[in-house]
């Protein structure tokens, strides 16, 4: 016996840009039964979060609901008065945001923020709410549930904070919780703990949920049904298993196929070849706190070395040490057998030219006030001295190389490009220096999967054409599988394991590599259940403790 909880019909939402209202969501119908979990997936800009918020009768500033109804248990939230909505939100509908760190008030303790909603809605007295909060913390498997609530948000880890936020959403025992990408900002190993905790508590209290994510494999673990959105329209909706095994629409199939890209294996490196970049046991420290301990690895010509690890494992610091932004305190870096000066200020122009970087956030890596022609043209002029027409020609060549139409893009500003195009400009800027070695720092992690795949293919193509070497920093093992030749696994500033890709993905592993590999969500709705059964619940707790 199911009971209709949420019924959205013909939802239309518009956003204001340049004084003009333009549609964000064109037409969405959505049904949710009591206790059911619906997954919303799509690329960025598909309107997932906007629909999620609209399910609470709420829109962001600069947006408005221009049509349709949001019927929550008999009340139309679009037409409801502020007073009616105020009584409903928090009590019957709750929201869990992507960034728990940004959503908690840093000046108050967790438990005080937890008890706010029940007290406000006069459900429970403050003291009762505190006890209830501890119970919820226990059910969400937070360590030390009696005391953790008395900490401040900055005193607990990201994964714990996300669970504390879920507990907060549960505090009034709502009928519906909206999870807006709750695990996107977390590492894979932490993500599992949060996913398991959320799934269990939603089942225990028979709460309905809308789970928003761009990661299919994650949604597959959580949702009973999945709805795919594309640019404000629904593409299709089906039961999770049906959707995974037999998607109907081409767009959905393309989403499914993204992870299949893989480069052919290259022949083994001949013994005795000089590596293009060689890290000779480098250690580095920020001020007095050491972050890298004796990191050694080699990168050979025309090869891609993927450096994997969780956040805080020292991946990016290694890159900063190679470039000389953070001179190593011990050890040194060799380039083609020559020792590079530790500090980038002491390196010659040619040494600087040979090592280029591509950054994670293309938004902050490109000067927003420079045109594309200037951004790419500057290194061309700086290193090869080309000016005027010769420089413009070279810039056009580079734009062709990254598969952008030169005439169309050369005079644009970065803000007039999409995320993937910006990342391509970042690549072109690195190529403009004609380097032999490029460091790619999480270049695809801020991009949608389809776009990220395009970038990976481009990088692979460029490597073949120009025989470049890459150091590929990532936390995403699917990316590693797609592009790398060799893999270096890092943890706490140390190299845990390294070797050719084929070996690394075959057992036996180092236990940490094993944990990383098994934590990557798979497109199988039973994956999480099986994994948890295999590991045992206690094991997850151990993993969390081991990380801290």
């Amino acid at each position: 016996m199911t009971q209709q909880l949420l019924k959205i019909r013909g939802l239309k939402i518009e956003g204001k840009s340049d004084e003009v209202w333009s549609p964000i969501v064109n037409w969405i119908d959505l049904d949710l039964q009591k206790g059911e979990v619906l997954g919303l997936i799509g690329e960025s800009g598909a309107g997932k979060s906007t629909v999620g918020l609209a399910a609470m009768g709420f829109t962001r500033d600069g947006c408005r609901i221009s049509g349709g109804t949001v019927d929550f248990d008999g009340v139309d939230l679009v037409a409801a008065s502020a007073a009616v909505k105020r009584n409903m939100l928090g009590k019957r509908i709750a929201y869990v945001a992507q960034s728990a760190a940004a959503s908690f008030n840093p000046a108050h303790r967790l438990i005080d923020q937890h008890t706010e909603a029940p007290t406000q809605h006069k459900i429970r007295a403050n003291a009762e709410s505190e006890l209830d909060g501890m119970e919820l913390y226990r059910r969400l498997r937070l360590p030390d549930p009696e005391n953790i609530g008395f900490r401040y948000p900055h005193q607990v880890s990201g994964g714990q904070l996300q669970r504390a936020m879920t507990a907060m959403a549960m505090s009034c025992r709502p009928d519906l919780i909206i999870f807006d990408e709750p695990t996107t900002a977390l590492d894979v190993t932490t993500q599992i703990e949060v996913l398991a905790a959320i799934r269990d508590i939603v089942e225990q209290f028979d709460t309905a949920a809308i789970y928003i994510s761009h990661d299919l494999a994650v949604v597959a673990q959580m949702a009973d049904r999945i709805k795919v959105l594309l640019r404000g329209d629904e593409v299709e909706e089906a039961e999770t298993r049906a959707m995974l095994s037999a998607p109907c629409e081409d767009y959905t199939k393309s989403l499914w196929a993204v992870r299949s890209f893989q480069r052919p294996a290259k022949p083994a490196i001949s013994a005795g070849a000089t590596p293009i970049v060689s890290l000779k046991k480098i250690s580095a420290a920020y001020g007095k706190s050491p972050v890298l301990f004796d990191v050694p690895f080699d990168i050979h010509a025309g090869r891609t070395v993927a450096v994997v690890g969780e956040s805080g494992s020292g991946k990016s610091t290694t890159a900063r040490s190679i470039t000389g932004l953070l001179p190593p305190s011990q050890g040194h870096v060799e380039f083609n057998g020559e020792v590079l000066p530790l500090d980038y200020r002491k390196r010659s122009k040619d040494q600087l030219r040979q090592v280029q970087m591509i950054y994670q956030m293309a938004d902050t890596a490109l000067n927003p006030r420079s045109s594309i022609g200037d951004i790419i043209g500057r290194p061309v002029q700086f290193y090869s001295g080309l000016t005027g027409i010769a420089k413009r020609k070279r810039v056009e060549e580079l734009l062709v190389q990254i598969e952008l139409e030169p005439g169309q893009y050369i005079d644009r500003l970065p803000s007039e490009l999409s995320g993937g195009q910006k990342q391509r400009i970042g690549i072109a800027r690195a190529l403009a220096a004609e380097p032999q070695f490029i460091i790619c720092d999480e270049v695809t992690s801020a991009l949608d999967q389809l776009v990220a795949e395009g970038i990976l293919k481009l990088l692979a193509q460029l490597q073949d054409d120009l025989s470049l070497s890459y150091m590929f920093i990532t936390h995403d093992l699917a990316t590693v599988r797609a592009i790398s030749d060799e893999v270096v696994v890092m943890k706490d500033g140390k190299v845990v394991e390294q070797g050719p890709k084929a070996e690394m993905f075959q057992p036996p592993h180092h236990p940490y590599t094993d944990l990383l590999l098994s934590s990557v969500p798979e497109m199988d709705p039973d994956w999480l259940t099986n994994l948890l059964n295999g590991r045992g619940v206690d094991n997850i707790g151990d993993a969390a403790v081991g990380k801290m």
Partner: protein
Amino acid sequence: MSWLMNLILILIATAVVPWVFRFAGQKFTGNKPFFRDMPFAVAFGYVAGLLVLIAAVSYYFRPLEVNGVPSAGVIFFRWAVQGFIGFAIVAYLFRLFGRAVGTAGTRKLFRAMPLTAAFGVLVILLYAIVSIFAGSIAPYGQEEIFANANIVPGGNPMMGGDPNFPLGTDQIGRDIYSRLIYGAQNTVGIAFATTCLAFFVGGSLGFLAAIVGGWLDQILSRAVDVLMAIPALIFALLLMTIASVWSNQLGVDRTIFMVLIIAMIDSTRVYRLSRAVGQNIVVMDYIEAAKLRGEGMGYLIFKEILPNATAPLLAEFGLRFCFVFLTIASLSFLGVGIQPPLADWGTMVKDLSQFINFAAFAPNVATAPLLAAGAIALLTVAVNFVVDWMLHKSSGLKD
């Protein structure tokens, strides 16, 4: 006890009238969300605003004269309202003009421009034209002295005016209209030069401190802290006193010292801003990329940081210009700024200030000092309108 009764009645009315207003609104509009979700405080605001409007309109239409005595309050209020409406209309027409004429870029700019900004741009343009062409616009020279002193503004012979001197003459017989125009040249020109200097010095040092950091940042920042700890106007007065001795010894114009002193004091404020803005920009990856490329300091400051700091710096430029301008006027008012016979608005306000006492029975006479003061106020308001608009635009662009 009647006052107590009145008080209670007023309190009850304060509570009841907004409630009735909201209730009536809900009934008449069929419970539209505007009235339905209106908090009591907002309803109170609407009612209070309406009352103020009614009071203003009735005051506007009160007679200008009672028993042969002009009621100065009504006269000034009418001038203010007429001026306000007149400026609004002119700004509106100016904006229409801007939307119809010019390149596609400027037309787009005018389309998105609020009325306040159009007014500000218009006033700044007018001031610029007046100060550049002061020599050909002004009917007389700024130093010319005529036989008739103390002619009342208005140009009406019945009230002591003279059509040849539409805005009257001052105590020693100089034409106020001409001196206002020359004053624009002197005061605005000097203020502009001073602000530019302050920005060049403060801006480059601030960005330098942001990039280099470390001991250079410490030395510059602490020096600026020390300078900022001294009240600006008193510090300027003190330095001007010293400078007046030097200027006599060295034979250098005192105005140059004034420009240098005010620029130095104001550059401390610019330094603080540009250092803070610069620090946010130097952590960006594109600065890191430029550093790794091996770029020099000049390229980093002028090509990478400056273009991204223009919005806050421009906004600060407008505000700083007003402050510099007011400082010059204050110094002139105190007698150490721009020296006679050069026309200057601050000095003009000071020289004519005693006429303000005539306001009660001869409003026309009292306008003499207000003209220069009004010129200062108008420019200050106009610049602030434009600055507000720029800030709004730059913050909107970030989204």
